[in-house]
Amino acid sequence: MQRRRWMAMLATGTAALLVISGCGGSSSGGGGSSNSAAPPLPDVAMQQSVGQGEGELDLINWAGYAEDGSNDKSVDWVHPFEKATGCTVHDKIGNTSDEMVQLMKTGQYDGVSASGDATLRLIYGGDVAPVNTSLVPNYATIQPFLKDRAWNSVNGQMYGIPHGWGANLLMWNTKSVHPAPTSWGAVFNPNSPYKGKVTAYDSPIYIADASLYLMKHVPSLGITNPYALDSKQLAASVDLLKEQRKTVGEYWNDYTKEVQAFESGDSTIGTTWQVIANLVNSDKKGLVKAIEPSEGSTGWSDTWMIAAHAKHPNCMYKWMNWITSPTVNAQVAEWFGEAPAQSLACDHTSDKNFCADYHAADKAYSDSLYYWTTPTTHCLDGRGNVCTDYSDWTQAWTDIKG
């Protein structure tokens, strides 16, 4: 008897929940549609002056963008900033653009070093504010070809200060991988001799690496932009990645995980960032090599953006100016392994050929990279509304991992 009464109570409770959920659904329903046309630009105020620092600064950044000497004693531009401005920096590493967008939505951070596949989502989500470039003196000497681009501005209004850019690289263990690879084919070979030791970036945006490979090797698919895929082209990329999965030992999204996997020998070949190769080689000299393969690469172009409701806006403006100052931007670029956005930074690199190696002033080269961009239904290559969007890619990525 006792039990039956409990079951009845449980049933009533469930029914009540269902009723509540029904109400919740209908009362707020009908308002939205989930199409992917860009919604209207949220009205977020732009700061007009920079006053005294607030004493604190909460950042979300890519690994290696806010070094305080804890990884390498000589690599420290956070402490000098704190000393100069009185703003204590708390930095949180974002492992993927998606994670950065999610973290910015919490409203607990003042700014973010966003890549091109996050920037527009942040702008149209109302999470970041337009940037008053006249309050950032170092903006004047930023490389002109990085200003007013599709990923960092809307209608001629900058939403951030360009930080640096570069390519995703192919990294391998020089001891166990022979001959040295020159093509992304090395990680897309289903009969790879390095089966079980291949690694790949654990994010839906990695699908673009596969579609870039297909763009160069299977022209019949008609891919012209790795981020503009119709459903057939996406399916082809997904198939390639499903084949690749059989050779993958593990995916990485935490950069420390890849560093550790290469050092222990669990991964021997895969996609990487220059900073990861640097970290591995600083622990075990000459263990890995990283190149941009013959097909070209996907890449990133990063922008420092300020949160729409930043608690420490003055400190954030001071940071944006600090990180793009010639000396600091040179330090960051050399540590991370990317082209600095600041044109004057090239005079301050410790390696005098650094800017030439990274094509820092080479607009044509910069334009040849396929920067991370959010795929949308409205094709980026101008084919109309036939493309797959990021939620399709997210779904596909779950499917690829199986």
Binding site: L17, I20, G24, G31, N35, E99, T374, D399
Partner: protein, 303 residues
Amino acid sequence: MTASVETAAVTPRGRSQSRRASGFLFRHPWLRLTGLLSLPMFWLVIAYLGSLGAMLVAAFWTTNDFTGAVVHNGTLDNFRTLVTEQVYRRIALRSVTVAALVTVVDAVIALPMAYYMAKIASPRARRLLVVAILTPLWASYLVKAYAWRVLLSHDGLVNWALQPFGTKGPGYGLVAVVLTLSYLWLPFMVLPVFAGLERIPDTLLEASADAGAKALRTFRSVVFPLLFPAIVAGSIFTFSLSLGDYITVNVVGGTSQLAANVIYDNITTGGNLPFAAAAAFFPVVVMLTYLVAVRRTGALENV
């Protein structure tokens, strides 16, 4: 000295006040009950069931594909995707299998261990063993998971130890996940089984032996039936903890993903909270089914 004088002065008045209050409560039983139950009821109904309810509601929403903002429309799309896409069925099956394997491995290890602790070891050794079982719970979950990552890595201890035998460890993958989770949740199986064994009087075992039963027969016909509810109680912990785990599989799982990863990835990567909410109903439903099934064994009265 002064303090004691003060308390002495205050006490009579305080006592009369508290007596008046208790008299008031005695005359108002409803108030008494409300005061006693309001805090736990608040916790159970608002914080606990309320959050489950909020999750259920959110599961019927969707997100704007571009900005990731939640769109409050009532739709079954999330559940439809979960049911129709083959990949989610595969992940669900894999998750339940892993959770079941972890439970079986833990039960197989815990039974002899708990038997030794409860029936054979001296009281002193028993105390030490209980401490030894509980100690790992003091170490951080992450440290233990990463310890297994190092153990199982290419140049790790496991491969090194197996090398002389011409074989090597499982590497990262589902086997590593089962191993690590079994290690992590073992105390949650050992303790209920140990408690269950302690409650079986030694005289029962002796009686069974007197009646001519060998050790195995005694175990099968006397110990196991009496112990079964305790094993089930332990399995509730190991099974549900395994079903909800997403960190271990990220650390040692290689390319595999489990049900909880789908939830986690949809929150952090996909930014699709409604879909994550819908996906979160899978472990809830599995656990409710499991609890209803084990209710018959009487295990729930034993927890």
